[in-house]
């Protein structure tokens, strides 16, 4: 799965979690754009739940605790989809 495809999945997930910010999310094209969104922990938690269901993957709680950037999330999704 390419980085662009994963960003698209994340963008769709965000639009479902926070539809009021859909216009802002539609401008997300790069990893850096995701980091600059300033998502709170509850929004991120719900996004992660939705990504897990949509992509059929599962993140460990330890990984989520240590995750610091969108780059970590995208790398983890690529890792899981590939395995």
């Amino acid at each position: 799965m390419t980085t662009e495809a994963i960003i698209e999945q994340i963008r769709r997930g965000l639009e479902a979690v926070a539809p009021a910010r859909a216009a802002e999310f539609s401008k997300v094209k790069k990893l850096e754009d995701l980091d600059s969104l300033g998502l709170d922990s509850i929004t991120t938690l719900e996004l992660v739940d939705r990504l897990e269901k949509r992509l059929g993957i599962a993140f460990s709680d330890d990984f989520l605790m240590e995750m610091t950037s969108a780059r970590d999330l995208v790398a983890a999704i690529q890792d899981q989809v590939a395995s």
């Binding site: 009021a20 509850i42 938690l45 992660v48 990984f63 995750m67 983890a76």
Partner: protein, 239 residues
């Protein structure tokens, strides 16, 4: 560490009802001896079944006050750093607190809280996320509304005040007047987890807490005090 390692075993303390009751009794004795507690509308907390107490947070004593004064077992949510506090750490561990790491995506803690609710328990969560730095009610975080939407459990807004005066009063060999006031239970109209819905629910809960607090604890710009009339319930000094 990789993303697809199995989830770590929960590092939350095990809940031991007998130990809880013993510690609760000791804390209650201390509160009754060293302060003047007053509980307003305790019957608004359902005696059984899942419930979420959404409380404001002024002092480290807020959690113990809720545990000691409510007529049912309550599992507090506490900041992970309190685990190692010389006094509150053992108290929180003994009462089966759910520790959460602030500023991190602590899904395990959220899952532990949901498990307590699924088992018919009651959890107490500081809706502002941390102690108020100036004694005024802060903005609420969406975690409480998220828990309520996920679990379907009723929310009980709860206001605590006077606890910030406990330590200063002790230093003057006096007993502080401390209050715990419960608002009417709230059931969320929607279990939707989108942010706008959670924001709206959080604002509603904060307004309910503001209505229970004396005006000196309210930032004038955000809340107006005193519209939750308490004529339909009791107010008493525990003995």
């Amino acid at each position: 560490m990789t993303a697809n390692e199995p989830p770590a075993a929960g590092a939350q303390p095990r809940f031991r009802p007998l130990l809880y009751d013993l510690v609760r009794g000791a804390i209650r004795f201390l509160f009754l001896t060293l302060s003047h507690p007053r509980v307003i509308c305790p019957e608004r907390c359902p005696p059984q079944g899942p419930a979420i107490l959404a409380i404001n947070h002024l002092s480290y004593f807020d959690g113990p006050m809720v545990l000691a004064m409510l007529p049912r077992r309550v599992r507090p949510m506490a900041a992970d750093r309190l685990r190692r506090h010389f006094f509150f750490g053992p108290v929180m561990n003994a009462t089966g607190a759910v520790f959460i790491r602030r500023g991190q995506l602590d899904r395990a803690a959220m899952r532990a809280l949901l498990a307590v609710l699924a088992g018919g328990g009651c959890v107490a969560v500081a809706i502002e996320g941390t102690r108020s730095p100036d004694g005024k009610l802060q903005e609420g975080k969406n975690g409480v509304a998220y828990l309520a939407a996920k679990s379907g459990a009723p929310l009980i807004p709860a206001a605590v005040w006077g606890t910030e005066q406990i330590w200063p009063a002790w230093r003057r060999f006096r007993r502080a007047e401390v209050h715990l006031s419960l608002g009417s239970p709230i059931r969320l109209a929607s279990q939707s987890l989108d942010v706008s819905t959670l924001d709206g629910a959080t604002r509603g809960i904060m307004s309910s807490i503001a209505a229970l607090l004396p005006s000196r604890y309210l930032p004038e710009a955000r809340y107006s005090p005193g519209d939750d009339k308490m004529t339909d319930c009791s107010s008493h000094e525990p003995s």
